[in-house]
Amino acid sequence: MTAAPTVNVVAAEGPASARRSQGAIAALARNPLAVICAGYLFLLLVALAAAPLLAPYSPNAEDLTHVLAGPSARHWLGTDQLGRDVTSRLLYGGRSSVIDVLVATGTFLLAGIPLGLLAGYLGGTVDRIVSRVANVLFALPAIVILLMVVAIFPNDDPVAMVTLGIIASPGLLRVIRGTTLAIRQELFVRAAQLSGLRTATVLRRHVLPSLAGPILVQGSLFCAGALMAESGLSFLGLLRPDSTGPTWGNMVADAANVLGQDTWLLVPTGGIIALTVMAFSLLGDAVRDATVGRSIGSVPLARQLTKPSAAVVPQSSPRGDDLLAIDGLTVTLGDVRLLTNVSLTVRAGEAVGIAGESGCGKTITARAVLGLLPPGGRVAGGSVRFGGEELTTLTERQLNRIRGAGIALVSQDAVSSLDPTYTVGSQLCEVIRHHTGASRRAARQRAVELLATVRLAEPEAILRLRPHQLSGGMAQRAGIAIALAASPRLLIADEPTTALDVTVQREVLELLGDLRRRLGMGLVLVTHDWGVLAEVCDRAVVMYAGEIVEEATIDRLCLTPRHPYSAALLAANPQLASPGRPLPVIPGRVPAPSAWPAGCRFAPRCSRATPECTAQPVQLDAGVRCVHPVTAEVDA
């Protein structure tokens, strides 16, 4: 007997305001399953309340000439061993069972809510004592306590139900306590307290509304469990026998007894219990979904995977020696465009930078190459060719061939790019073995070599470390080592040094440059830092609001930027600032993707803007997307 209901093991949800409760009710109303369950329960309760009116017979009226009859016009659901009408008994029996469930649930709520509130709100010793007791109670095997109580108080439904409620209450207590604890720390509660409101008022006005959700969820699930427990205990003959009146539990127990003579009886008696338990459970689930909501991270994996886009016709013809050729790439997320018409080429051994502020689309561009767009993102137009092969029309599986072996990626946050539950060595060897098929020993050998290549001291020791034990710099180097494992022809590094401090930055950049030269590897470096750009790259593009606004060699870009945005960025670079003078910043903000203007997207912030700029989309011309490019040199 599953005496314990499906308790919500996940920790208490965060705080929810009253507004959110209203939103929750709306969400609930939209969920068809929830509506059906709530409707069923409501109708059931009405029917049970109206039993004297609805029941065709008295529940104890015996008809000894028609025992164990199947469904018929006289008895819609048949009769039992004493010829009593099953329909009537289900109606009256439901009242007893519902009362039992209410007694259990009432106890459950009465025991769990006040104590949980107290523990969460008052904290300190009260919390410690209550939590300790609750934990012990929670850990007790409930069935044993229940059986003992039933042994001492036989055939006593209320006592058994109260016991059940008490035993299960720690589950509720924990949830209430957690929620209360979180709310207490909310600012508005603090404000209320400071403004002198009494504890009770604070509780009532601010805390209780947020508890409605968890209470409903736990209560609903517990009702399901209590009904199951009642039927189980009755089946074992431990609760009220049918001579004192029907309950759903003793009806199904009687039906099981006569299974050999009458197989039908078990259907309505067991069925009503199953249906009602399901209704309670599903309703509880629905309330939980509506009040908690889904966090951003809970997207099925399938939705994250790449779906190949339609066949594309590249706008420009491919150049033979291009390693990577991005041509007119447009990426959307739902209805919103994230990138428009991005084009970029990288030759073997070349280092190309993508520069811009956060939100300009540079990371998306990098990700798009490898088909690692966020859930819902798609390539809406353009092409990406790697070594002549079109990537945008490949499936996830096909792309996987290229990832790691052809193109590798190094991310910004190195530690979180590693699986925290495996050692560095294990993850490194895993990639090596996958791509080269090497034996365990050979892979380990290569791993040590790789770690040495990225200039990590004591590579053997590093292999045994776990990600959380690495410093930022070590982690980044390890990340680079993993990226190099399969000897990729192109390395995309997305802000590889942003999270590192300056000295480490320098070392990693040197490393990248060195690797590029030695291995003849292409490099795409995404960054917002001009110093980084200048250090490593041969060429660079500048992106703003999802499009490329300028592309040039590093020398020309740093000395004579022609797009007003590039010029402004360079001027705002702290490294070039004059001491004592305020830093020239660009007024305004980057427009959100849903609000990109039709013409030049920088125009609203540009000092050189004219109506001509905003009239229509500006084309890329000689490496600049501008109507009024800067021609003079930048003043130092």
């Binding site: 000894l64 000439t65 061993q81 004493l82 010829g83 055939n155 431990l238 004192t244 099981a256 007894n257």
Partner: protein, 524 residues
């Protein structure tokens, strides 16, 4: 209840006993039924006999166990006297016996020589005397029948029982039906605690404790020292406890089990499944109107009231509804052709609610009255209680039913004299045994100790009489009980036995209504 249909009341409850004994001269027929023919017996020893039962014993101690569960004892303990299938008596551990002198107070037993217990020790007369003394000391259900008696070794293989009051039924009391005759080895008597979980007998089998799980599976292997090797038909006997009648039937259908005691609820299904079904009437089930002196319910002191209740009972409908195929209506506390049976008595109280109301009015209860009744949950007693309650409600008598799943709580309740009436399932017995069990002031089933001089006189005459005079007196006692409506018997039922075609020897008769496990043989 799904399980716990204890058949203990079948044979006995408290001090009551059951077990049909018909002296060989009376034809044992009528009332028995069987479907499927008994297969021929095979001459070779069979493999494993698997028997299913709904309940297991709480203890294996023959003297403290519930006497109804004697299946578990019979396999391992040999009684002094064996009751045969046809009702006759045969030598067991005693080769001959007789009453010395007159008055049925001195009973002499001559013991079989060379009997060895399962541990190899030889049985002596002193062992038998020690065993009798233990019967009394253990205080079980048999103790009252031997209380106050003295036991002596009166020869190298002879034991004499000297009883204080006449007891003409020693031979029957010492058969396998009553466990008192099951002789326990000296080791067992020394370590009475172990008697609960192991066997120390001289019977055809012994318990294999290694393959036994208490309360679930009991495995018996042949006793290497048994004196009659030919009577051991199986290499192994396993008794399995299953929770419900359905489970038992399922196990028979699939052949997992060869033999089991049946149940009214599965009878038809068993017949349809092609099992050999045998049964013989053995018990009556009905209400005991215990408070005949009106201590708690004044109305019950009035015989008219009690008769009214009998008139208010529609026995044929009740039997059709609850005991179809396993029972017949009865108005007397015996079964057809049983002890004291008189066919005409079954027309004493035809179903007549109007007459019942009349009688109640005449007795001063025109608006009826209220009384409580306690019932157990086995043998459909609780259903019978509710059915009776509804029928009696038609004539204005309100019954408050106390339904106790716990059999010992039920026993305590009715035995304590705190409930004026109760439902009982009682075996038919020789009147001499039935008196102390059912209707004499000292009987357990007479918790209010109601006494009747007339009844007592009939009883006293009966136990001193024999032959046809005894039979006539039996019927007089029965008539008294019916005419004075001490009870409201409803159905005469039996126990059905289900067997697969792999075994034989499961016939039952009124004289021998219970299948003896050790007599079941493999079919050829």
């Amino acid at each position: 209840m799904f399980m716990r249909k204890i058949k203990h009341v079948v044979r006995t409850s408290s001090a009551a006993l059951a077990g049909g004994m018909v002296v060989a001269t009376v034809a044992a027929c009528g009332g028995t039924s069987s479907s499927g023919t008994q297969p021929a017996a095979s001459s070779t020893t069979g493999g494993t006999l698997t028997v299913a039962g709904e309940l297991g014993p709480t203890t294996l101690n023959p003297e403290t166990t519930n006497q109804a569960l004697c299946d578990f004892e019979e396999l391992a303990y040999e009684p002094l006297i064996v009751r045969l299938e046809n009702g006759g008596l045969a030598p067991g551990l005693a080769t001959s016996w007789h009453y010395a002198g007159t008055g049925n107070t001195t009973f002499v037993l001559n013991l079989r020589g060379g009997v060895r217990f399962s541990d190899g020790t030889t049985m002596t007369a002193q062992d038998v005397v020690n065993d009798f003394q233990y019967v009394v000391k253990a205080g079980g259900q048999m103790a009252p029948y031997f209380a106050g008696d003295s036991f002596a070794v009166t020869g190298p293989l002879q034991v004499t029982i000297t009883a204080k009051t006449p007891n003409p039924d020693f031979p029957f009391l010492l058969t396998q039906d009553y466990n008192a005759g099951d002789i326990i080895s000296p080791d067992g008597l020394k370590d009475t605690a172990a008697l609960g979980t192991q066997t120390f007998g001289a019977g055809p089998y012994e318990l294999d404790a290694a393959q036994t799980v208490s309360g679930s599976t009991y495995t018996y292997t042949p006793n290497p020292y048994y004196y009659d090797k030919a009577a051991v038909h199986w290499k192994k006997v396993v008794v399995k406890v299953m929770g419900s009648a359905e489970a038992v039937l399922d196990a028979l259908k699939t052949g997992e089990v060869n033999l089991a005691e049946g149940d009214a609820s599965t009878l038809k299904a068993a017949e349809q499944a092609g099992l050999t079904v045998t049964q013989a009437p053995l018990l009556w089930e009905g209400a005991v109107l215990a408070d005949r002196d009106g201590k708690m319910v004044k109305a019950l002191a009035n015989v008219q009231v009690r008769q009214a209740l009998n008139y208010a009972t529609d026995r044929s409908t009740l039997v059709n509804a609850l005991f179809a195929g396993v029972g017949t209506p009865t108005e007397q506390v015996t079964v057809p052709d049983g002890y004291g049976y008189l066919a005409s008595l079954n027309s004493t109280y035809p179903y007549d609610p109007a007459k019942a109301k009349q009688l109640l009015a005449a007795a001063g209860y025109p608006h009826g009255f209220t009384m409580s009744m306690v019932t157990a949950d086995y043998d459909q007693e609780n259903l019978l209680a509710q059915a009776l309650a509804q029928e009696w409600a038609q004539v204005g008598v309100k019954v408050n039913i106390i339904d106790d799943a716990n059999p010992s709580a039920y026993e305590q309740a009715f035995v304590s004299g705190t409930v004026p009436s109760f439902i009982a399932t009682y075996g038919q017995q020789p009147i001499s045994i039935e008196g102390p069990g059912l209707f004499l002031p000292t009987a357990a089933f007479n918790p209010y100790h109601t006494a009747s001089a007339a009844l007592q006189s009939l009883y006293d005459q009966d136990i001193s009489a024999s032959g046809t005079a005894a039979t006539a007196l039996d019927q007089k006692v029965e008539s008294y009980l019916v005419d004075n409506a001490w009870f409201v018997p409803v159905a005469a039922t039996g126990i059905a036995w289900y067997a697969t075609s792999s075994v034989t020897g499961t016939e039952v008769t009124t004289g021998a209504p219970l299948v003896e496990l050790y007599q079941v043989e493999p079919a050829s």
